[in-house]
């Protein structure tokens, strides 16, 4: 009997610590918190194939991805890019929120690419450096937009990282825990 009581006590301590770990905030920002549970769910989501191929392996990468998703999807909503964001998604899906955030994040990144400004000088240099492709075409709005998109797509990673930095400042993101790596 005494043994059972000790075991029960131990289990309750363990369960409580697990629960606390899951709820533990990793990032605190204005308007939202990213917890360990969010990261665990995201990992389950990727490892189960619900969000496509898993691109991350370390805890740190999953934490960063969880924060990035929250920032980018939140900004998509803030900028009114969430219309029809639930279309085709099953609200009963256990990973509904993660799928929605991923979709909104992609929308926001696409929005950044579509609106990324490229100077006339850069566009002209690309156009002139590729006469095999553009020689017969005047540098009209269609060509300008094609080149602008090429430049923006090539810079997507740096554009995205710069925007995440901006959003981290905007929402005063603070890292709470660096324990699990």
């Amino acid at each position: 009997m005494k043994r059972l009581a000790v075991l029960a006590l131990l289990m309750s301590v363990v369960l409580a610590s697990v629960a606390n770990a899951a709820d533990a905030p990793l990032f605190v920002a204005e308007g939202f918190v990213v917890t360990q549970e969010d990261v665990n769910r995201l990992r389950d989501c990727y490892e189960g194939g619900a969000l496509g191929m898993a691109m991350f392996s370390s805890e740190a990468e999953y934490r960063k991805k969880a924060l990035d998703l929250r920032l980018l999807s939140g900004e998509a909503v803030a900028q009114g890019l969430d219309e029809g964001a639930n279309e085709g998604l099953d609200t009963d899906d256990p990973f509904f929120q993660e799928k929605r955030m991923l979709r909104l994040s992609k929308r926001y990144i696409n929005h950044l690419i579509k609106t990324y400004p490229v100077s006339d000088r850069v566009i002209l240099s690309y156009y002139r450096a590729n006469p095999e492709r553009y020689g017969a075409s005047p540098l009209n709005d269609t060509v300008r937009e094609e080149v602008r998109m090429k430049v923006a797509v090539a810079k997507q990673k740096s554009i995205q990282e710069a925007e995440i930095d901006r959003l981290m400042t905007k929402y005063h993101v603070q890292t709470v825990s660096e324990t699990r790596k």
Binding site: R121, Y126, R128, A129, E132, R133, V151
Partner: protein, 174 residues
């Protein structure tokens, strides 16, 4: 695609060979951090008989920029060379990647440059062919044949670097 030909062989287009030549070019470019001289220090010759350098270049400023650029590349001065790449290249390619491209091994020696041909078409685009002779460590001298391209933007000539393996985003043609 950049066309590369060894003097002893035919046209080679396989990625492995291109990679090898890209490595070779990176290797011979050296990795020194110091500023390159404004002029090439290796012998430069012209292939076409009777075509002196004054007739080879359509624009004296292009000759000057060409020499400064290749002096920088040969010395591994990636900062100077990067600033002479076309504006779109500077915008699209991270400087760190370019630095690695230029710096790599420095144990090779340029022996000479032969300018073979220059085509200006349209007026703002120049493609010239050249042979570069090198000597690597424990290697006999060899020659690479390459095309070098330049574009004029707002009165200034810029280098056009195409390398489908290292810089695919800026190297499409046609």
């Amino acid at each position: 695609m950049m066309e590369i030909r060894r003097t002893s062989g035919g046209i080679i287009r396989t990625p492995a060979v291109l990679m090898g030549v890209a490595w070779l070019l990176m290797a011979v470019c050296g990795g020194c951090a110091h500023k390159a001289p404004a002029k090439l220090t290796i012998p430069v010759t012209y292939a076409e008989k009777g075509k002196a350098e004054g007739h080879f270049w359509p624009d004296p400023s292009l000759k000057s920029v060409f020499e400064r650029y290749w002096a920088a590349r040969l010395q591994g001065d990636s900062d100077t060379a990067f600033e002479m790449e076309a504006p779109y290249f500077q915008e699209m390619i991270p400087k760190g990647l370019y630095k690695n491209y230029v710096k790599n091994a420095r144990n090779n020696e340029w022996l000479g440059m032969e300018l073979v041909n220059l085509i200006q078409d349209p007026a703002y685009f120049v493609e010239l062919s050249m042979r570069l002779t090198y000597k690597g460590r424990k290697m006999r001298p060899g020659t690479v044949f390459m095309k070098d391209r330049w574009v004029e933007v707002e009165g200034q000539w810029y280098h056009v670097l195409r390398d489908r393996l290292i810089f695919p985003a800026v190297s499409e043609t046609g």
